[in-house]
Structures are given as structure tokens and as C-alpha cells.
Subunit: 351 residues, 2 copies
């Protein structure tokens, strides 16, 4: 028979949900409203048939992003979303047969990529009260460790790792020649970054995305920040022309207007978060504290599955926890109007 | 030291050219004008901040494309451009240690991906008159063969492989359990496709792109067509959310208006080609016959390098042949106005 990569031949992948446009989308941590209209209009003026006729050029945005965060251009490489970035990092730096250590629950693609790479995933569980004991993760780092992933804030739990905790992980990983991936997909919702650690340690790889705070998941723009050698290795592997020019144009506009964009979006987010937390408290719901744009809520009467299904019937999508997050409702936090629609429906359904 | 994939660690990649927007771009086989304005306007009306806030959904275009060509949806998978498609195919179906057979010169990424995969690239050379003897390629197919790549029409030479030749390759490859990649990036400039062979043989993989005739290279949209098993294997490997929503929207508009778009673009292309061939003949230039949107022209007096450099000074980019296509000027064929600018400059420079 024809050769097929033996891991890929039987690899099972989950299909992503579709047909979401008609719903209030609180299931995938997107901003349902998208970028501010003024930013959209300003950026789209650049987009013409001729603009779309030219192969993408990504140097300008790479330089702009790096310089904004006090880095050199060769500390940064752009990617077609941060899920693809994750794949590059595990392909290039993940030694087959070694361990990838991560919290559970966390973003599911770490295990998918580790499986494809022939790495073992070592899951570190939360405590019963959903706090995370970093010592349990530190204890797992040993000569079998290839990579450690810290999603900060971690999805779906919403906890964060302090700089002190992160440094302990980096230092112990370094003893065993392991690199630490710090996934800052939800940076900006939580304002502490580990970017400065890239200068201090040679085994730190940071992932970021424009899909969350910057509200353009449809365009696919993410990036990897690390030391120059690591970025060079990723660039040795990364196919050229993977980031489309519209994404690059939005990335440029966002960085040119960075503080205004962050302020406007953060204000909207924070209003929605304040509303939601108060409404959950008022309605007597238990939930986990969160530093992300999502929150895990315990149902009161019905099951998470029942509530998720009935919310969908009412035109609202949320994510029903599975596996290590089973029993929770995971709801995207954003504009107050959606938080109100959700709470009104929740209170009605979960009675 | 930290683990880095041993092939990738020292892999050398070429940097793509940038800063091309201000030039007449005849160096990368793009349509310098892009899509027709009416198609652009119609498609862009769908693009809003909310549209950009939703993770991409690619099923609708997959189904539409498949059905247009008489296939099932599970015969097709969309990709972030056809260069990425090529990478998927070589990763999934390319057995490390075996051979990838292709013509030389051809599109350079086949060898890059083969090298990364640990495959050997077997190059089959053209005859001295730049005709291609398919028997020489057939002779190379043996138990060491993993994949055969036929770019049809082949870039940069512009020759085509007949259906009879392609079938011979497929049948011989099948005897050795090798698959045949038929790269139809330049389909539409040459109107014969091998799509029907996907139904007839189980070792045929077709690649296509929206970057050439359909004029949206900036958006990154390509696809793989094969039997259902092969497509499933690629989908097992392909990360989700790699094709952005603006590309998908253009893909949908193009397929909804397929015949009109092809007619308008082909008319423009054909006028330009007619003009260019006549102008080259009139000016006494030798060139290779071509079925692609590019042509290889022999300089008369100066070297290809000198002419390429001096054209750039005059605001015109062309590709200067290297390696197996050294000595040629490779010029993108498209709208007559650019062909005229090129010819006027060429005649002045190459005197």
C-alpha cells in the first residue's frame, strides 16, 4: 500500500463547529462585535484588488511589533494564528520520545501536537478548589522533559502564574535542557507578560495572537517571540507566505493605534465582566475567578449539557466543559449586551 | 543543549523579496491588477468587523468547489495557499529515505519539503531544446520512489504533460506504491486538467491555487484534490483554522461567478500574451513556447542579470533565471499595458 505517515494515518481530529454566524457567540472566546469600526474603516481603505494581487510581505509588521515591545525584529516571527505557531514550536523544539508538561485542563492542541510529534503529554492536575500548585508541575520536570507549556492566563480555568512561579519553571527546565512555552493568547485581559524573560533566559518561547483582545480571529494572525536562534530555527521551518496581507494590514493598524485600541476594547470588556460577575453573584451562581475573557460557571439545577443545549435553542452559544473541565459552563466574557442576554437566558433555563 | 530538529537546525531558506508594491510586478506570476473590481466590491460587502470576529468556517467553500468539478466534498481540502498544500502532501505521503521525482527546473519548494522530510530529490532534466522526454522520468520510477511531482504546465519552462503521459506516470508509480502529485497552479492558463484521474486512480493528488488565474495571492487560498482516504489523512494532519475568512469569501464569490471571472481574466491575459509574443517576434527575441502565465526569454546582447537589474531601475520587476534556468529572463504574462512597458524597456536596455 501507499505510504502514509504512521502517526497521521490513524490520528483522530475533532471537527470545529460551523454555522455560528447567526448566534450570540460566547463559546470560543471571540469578541462578538469585532474591532472598532474606525479601525476597520481605516484599515480597509488600504485593501484593493491590486493589494490582494501581491504576495504578502511580513517584515514591516514583524519590525513594528518587535520594536513596540522593546525587542529586535529577529526576536519575532509571525504566524498564521497561534495554533499554527504552537505546531511549529513543538515540531522544531519537541524531542520525540520526551515529555511535554502542561496543566490540565488547558488548550487542547498542545496534546494534539505532542501526539503527532511522538512526545508524551504529562498533565498536571489542579487542586480540588481549582487552584494550581506550581510545585506539582516543578516536580514533573526531569531528564525526560522536552517542553513545558504554561498558558497564562490558563484557559479555561482563568488562573495565572506569577513571575516568580514562571521563573522557577524556566530555571528548572533549563537544568534539563527543556524549553518553556508561555502562551499569552489571553495577554491584555491580564496585563502581566513574560516578554522580558526572553532577554534573561535562553529557553523561553512566547506565543501571542491577534484573535482574542484584538478581535480578528477570522484573519489568522499570531506570533512567536524568543531569542534569535530559536526564531531562526522556526523560520528555517516555516513555509513562506502563510500570513495573508489583510491580517498583516490589520496587525499594522492595530500596532499603529495600539494604546487606543487596547483602551477601547478593554473598556468594553471590563464593563461586560463587571456586569457578568455582579449578575452571577446576584443570581447565586458559583464560578471560578478568572483573568481571561472567559469564565467557568457551575450550573445550579440542570446539567451543563442541558443548559448549553437550551441556550443554543435561544440563539446563544456557550462551551460545555468536557473531560477535565466537565460540569462547568464556559462563557466568553465581552460586551455587556451579550452578558445580559446570556444571564437572562441562564436564569430562565436553569430554574 | 536544547533539542532542535536536526534537519531544521541547519536548514537554509531563501528570503522572499519585499517592497514590490511600487513596481510593475512581472517576477512572481501574479496578475498585477488583481480581481475584477465588481467581484471585489461584491465580496467586500460581506466583510465587516463582526465578520472578522468569527473563526473561519471552510465547509461551504469546500462543498461548492468539489461540486463545481463533479467531486464529493471529501475529495477536497482547502489550504493556506498551495505551497502549504505541498508541504502537507510531502509530510503525510512522503516516505523518508525514498525519492521524490520531479523535472528540473520546476517550482523550488518540492525539493525544500523533500529535504525536510528526509527524502531524496531525483531531478529529471529537460532536453537541450527544452522539450521534456517523459520516458526519462518514467525510467526513474522504481522501488525507491515515494512521490512523483508533475507541475502542469511546468514553471518556469511552460511545457505541459499530455493526459497519456500523465497516465503512464501514474500507472508506473502505482506499480511501486508511489503517489503522483499533479500541481495545477497554472490551470486555466492551460485548460486541460487531471481532475478526472482522481476517480480513475488511487494514487493521484492534485494541487490548485487561487493565487494565479484567480489573482488573490495576498489572501492565501489553495487546495488539495484526491480520493477520500488521502483527503482524510491530510485532514488528520492539517491544523484547524488555517484559511482566513476573507480568502474563503473571495473563493466563494469566485466560484459563484466562476465562468464570468474566468472569461474576463482569460480575455485580459490572452490579449497581453498575444501582444507580448508578437512584440518579442518583432524585436527578434527567442523564447520558449509556454502554456503558463510566464515566459522564458533569451536576452540578445546583455546578460539576464544586467537586464533584470536595469529593468528594476526602470520600475519593472522580472525574474532572473538561476540554476537550471540560468540565462533566461522569466516574465509574467498579463495585461497588455504591462507587456508594453516591459517590451519598451527591454528593447531600450538590451541594445
Amino acid at each position: 500500500m501507499y505510504y502514509v505517515d504512521p502517526v497521521i494515518r490513524s490520528f483522530l481530529r475533532t471537527k470545529q463547529p460551523e454555522g455560528r454566524g447567526a448566534y450570540i457567540r460566547l463559546d470560543q472566546n471571540e469578541n462578538p462585535d469585532g474591532v472598532p469600526q474606525w479601525l476597520f474603516d481605516e484599515t480597509m481603505r488600504k485593501v484593493t484588488p491590486e493589494f490582494l494581487s501581491i504576495y504578502p510581505e511580513d517584515t514591516a509588521l514583524t519590525e513594528k511589533y518587535a520594536s513596540f515591545f522593546g525587542l529586535q525584529a529577529d526576536n519575532v516571527t509571525l504566524t498564521d494564528g497561534s495554533v499554527v505557531a504552537m505546531g511549529y514550536v513543538i515540531k522544531v523544539f519537541g524531542e520525540p520520545g520526551k515529555n511535554l508538561i502542561c496543566a490540565t485542563p488547558t488548550f487542547g492542541m498542545y496534546k494534539v501536537y505532542a501526539d503527532m510529534q511522538g512526545m508524551n503529554t504529562v498533565f498536571v492536575h489542579y487542586e480540588d478548589d481549582y487552584t494550581f500548585n506550581i510545585d506539582k508541575l516543578l516536580d514533573e520536570i526531569n531528564e525526560e522533559t522536552g517542553l513545558v507549556s504554561l498558558v497564562n492566563p490558563n484557559m479555561p480555568i482563568g488562573n495565572v502564574y506569577s513571575e516568580e512561579e514562571i521563573k522557577k519553571v524556566i530555571i528548572k527546565a533549563r537544568e534539563y535542557n527543556a524549553q518553556v512555552v508561555i502562551d499569552e493568547a489571553y495577554y491584555y485581559f491580564y496585563d502581566k507578560s513574560s516578554i522580558s524573560l526572553v532577554k534573561e533566559f535562553d529557553n523561553v518561547i512566547i506565543l501571542r495572537t491577534f484573535s482574542k483582545m484584538f478581535s480578528i480571529p477570522a484573519l489568522r494572525l499570531g506570533l512567536i517571540i524568543s531569542n534569535k536562534d530559536n526564531i531562526q530555527y522556526v523560520n528555517n521551518y516555516k513555509p513562506h507566505y502563510t500570513i495573508n496581507s489583510v491580517a498583516l494590514a490589520f496587525g499594522k493598524s492595530i500596532m499603529d493605534n495600539h494604546d487606543r485600541v487596547v483602551r477601547e476594547l478593554t473598556d468594553k470588556f471590563q464593563q461586560g465582566k463587571n456586569y457578568l460577575l455582579k449578575a452571577l453573584d446576584d443570581a447565586g451562581y458559583e464560578y471560578l475567578p478568572t483573568e481571561g475573557c472567559f469564565i467557568c460557571v457551575y450550573p445550579k439545577h440542570k446539567t451543563a449539557e442541558e443548559i448549553t443545549d437550551q441556550l443554543k435553542e435561544k440563539g446563544i452559544l456557550i462551551f460545555c466543559g468536557k473531560g477535565d473541565s466537565a460540569g462547568f459552563l464556559r462563557i466568553t466574557i465581552w460586551d455587556e449586551k451579550y452578558m445580559k442576554s446570556f444571564m437572562d437566558a441562564l436564569v430562565e433555563i436553569d430554574a
